[in-house]
Amino acid sequence: MENFFGFALPGVPYGCTYAIVAVGLVLTYQATGVFNFAFGGQAYAAAFVFTLLTQNEGWSGFPAFLVSVVVMSPLIGLAFDRFLFRKVGNSNTTAKLVISLSLLVGIPSLLPVIFGAQNLDDTATIFPFFNPNVVYFTVLQVPINGIYLSTITVTVVVLVALTALLRFTNLGLQMRGAVESRRLVQLDGVNSGRVVALAWAISSFMAGLAGVLLAPTFGNFQSDTYATLMVAAIAAAAWGLLRSIPIATAVGVLIGVVSTILKGYLPTSSIFFSAVLPSLPFFVLVAALLFLPGMRSLDMNRDPLATIDPPPPPTAAASRAPSMDRMIRRAWWVFFAVFVVSMLTWMPKTWEGVFNSGLALSTVLLSITLITGMAGQLSLFQGTLAGVGAFTSAQLANHLGLNMLVGGLIGALLAAAVAVVVALLSLRLRGLGLALMTLAAALLFDNTFFNDASITGGVSGLSLKEKWLGTSAFFNFNGHALFLLSLAVLAGCVLLVLQVRKGTVGRNLAAMRGSETAAAGLGINLTWQRIVVFALAGGIAGLGGVLVTIGAQVANSAQWSYSFSLIFIVLVVTTGVATVEGAIQAGIGFFVTSQLLTYLPGRFGGGSLVIVLFAFGAVQYAKHPEGVLEFQKRQGNMRFERLLFPKEYYALHPTEIAPGTNG
């Protein structure tokens, strides 16, 4: 029994931090309707600044806590509200999710750009009266030190204060009212802007607090370590149906405690210890998604005043004047021909590699156009599916000596099969529920299959050799074969997506995206539609993964971690998720921008900055749901149309008055 408590008690501080973030998630969701994935990023930012101050600047814990958690974190929350989420309609689930995902990806990448790369390993506790190295007393022979005491004290104080605020104050009541529609409560005389801003400030404070509390428990901490924190917190919040603070708290603490108990009892050599234990929070989350009917009806709030929003604009291609349209189509063909000829003749090898990588990534991103842009299903594991394709083909090449083209097709089929399994598991989930399920799937793969050296080749990955690609001269990778192969595969996938879009299935998918209730009421089998679109998108992502692997000559689990799935969504949303060209522009744009950034001083660390740039583009989703690039294209079109084809332009835009007429 003493053993049991000896294992259980050290889990309490972990559980407390999970509980704080879970409650923060519940609070933001309840008060603003936003499920804030960025919490992980915010927690990391607070811990980063806190540790920077204590470690590099020699500050003591308390003033560093005041700056990083009491001042900085709420300010970040207020900025999120003021500049981003305030502009998004309550009913627009996708916009809210995408913006918070962009922030989750963008914040940890932005910090090294601002402060330079840091090695953070010497963290302090926040209160001077709790010394982390002093054991104050023992409970059942478990030593209770300063970290333990400060974490539990802070958690209890914060949770009691918050519960009182929501239960017993007028402000709590107003926060709950603002969820449905902040515009509607305004009509009742409530200053809803202030109420929601306050909710953001409080919840961001909690994110910062959790980050700083958790920092000393990790040795050298990275932004990825905060992913575990987020998943545990999301799982706890899910069991509370994103509503109940006591249940979220209890489940959070329980996850922490059960993890350390299992760690204590399971033999360290067993598969359960190495693979299943780290995945415990994901299993808890998946169980909530599968078994709690309440998780199926998330996002059902609809703003009663949503109808006063203006309709979203049509795509640039759909709103062009016919002459302009013809001109642009011809220009595209010329551009395409010049590109192909350049790639085959004078293009420097470095840039040929950049464009090849871009074409391969475009194929992966095309799967997001299909599943999210056309079918409206927010899938956060397309990168994982690409990884399934990549590793399958690489393994088949390794063990059976199979040609990568044949192995690639098998890899794509396996990726499609994995996608179908996840689709079947999440048949009843919509919007946020589906996003969480696919995220959990991505994280599960990261912790299990992709973490297994026998599958993914460990840190160095599985390297490819030319012989696996067959002996034909066509597969001479010193020439342009990779370019031709990538172009052919991408062209095939683009054709497939376009054919689906203009056919019956595409129309049914658009109907499903518009209203699932009405689509089913017309006789459309939603289950089948979902399975079809998941399978197709999974297969395309798998093919893309194979192309990336052939290009890089190595399949590495770091290429396909969950964070890349999130970055992929951010990339496509930035350029435009509704169009095929959006995916291609995102794929090529990502590598071209990365390459251009390598010419900048090293401090700007190309890899980080390119993600920051795209994340910044994606947060613009609030203003331009069609994608920033798509918006710019439409604006550019209109300017050129006015200049080149004024007659057609003014016929299409009757509200504008042509110069020189008596309007």
């Binding site: 129309r507 658009a510 109907a511 518009g514 009405a518 089913a520 009421g521 017309l522 459309i524």
Partner: protein
Amino acid sequence: MAEQALLSLRGVSKSFGGIHAVHDISFKVRAGESVGLVGPNGAGKTTLFNCVCGQLRFDQGEIMFDGTTLAGIPTFKRARLGIGRTYQKVEVFTDMSVRDHLMVAERSRCGEGRLWKDLLNMSKVSRQEMENVEATLDLVGISSMADTSVNALGLGHCRLVELARALAAEPKILLADEPSSGLDIHETAEVAAVLRTVQHERGTAILLVEHDLSMVGEVVDRTVVMDLGSLLAEGTFDEVMANPEVRHAYLGQMGAA
């Protein structure tokens, strides 16, 4: 008019927690007949619609449609059997043009879209399909907005699009849930005319939930009244309106007196 019941409900009940939203409801709709389903707010009319269409699972009783018992059949299969509906809270396909709304219905009427046909370019819109769609657009009077995206339409027009979409699937019975809500007096008259035409020319049975009683009186052959989840009265429109219990349900003590 055929005597055979197209839709028959027997002892249908549905509760949410402890609340009996629909309690022991039985009535029939014959093929080609128009029946009004009226009652004050909270009477359980939309819940009953949801039970018939499969959006809700009923707890007790039996619903038969065209000789098939509906329990356990998913919504999309019930639609394919010939049950069409419009919704109290408008459900249109955002970002889609009016014509495409009808095309989705036209195609789903003919069965599931096959992926391989799309990939082989074999699912182009046929002349016959186009003519059917145009005819329904004309019938409902929304041809002028065929290529407009529904995002740009007001509530009233969206209701007409919903009606046209339901009719494009050529249902055997149309469950219309407050089709005149949000429409002005002229548009309401147009909807009433469309419903009568559909009933008389296409032989479509209609089950109409509506608060505008004058419209109900104009359209229906028979009226069923519900209150607090139970069936209150059944008969011709004039008969049920003269019923003191119905007047009490609608108007309180004053109506009964």
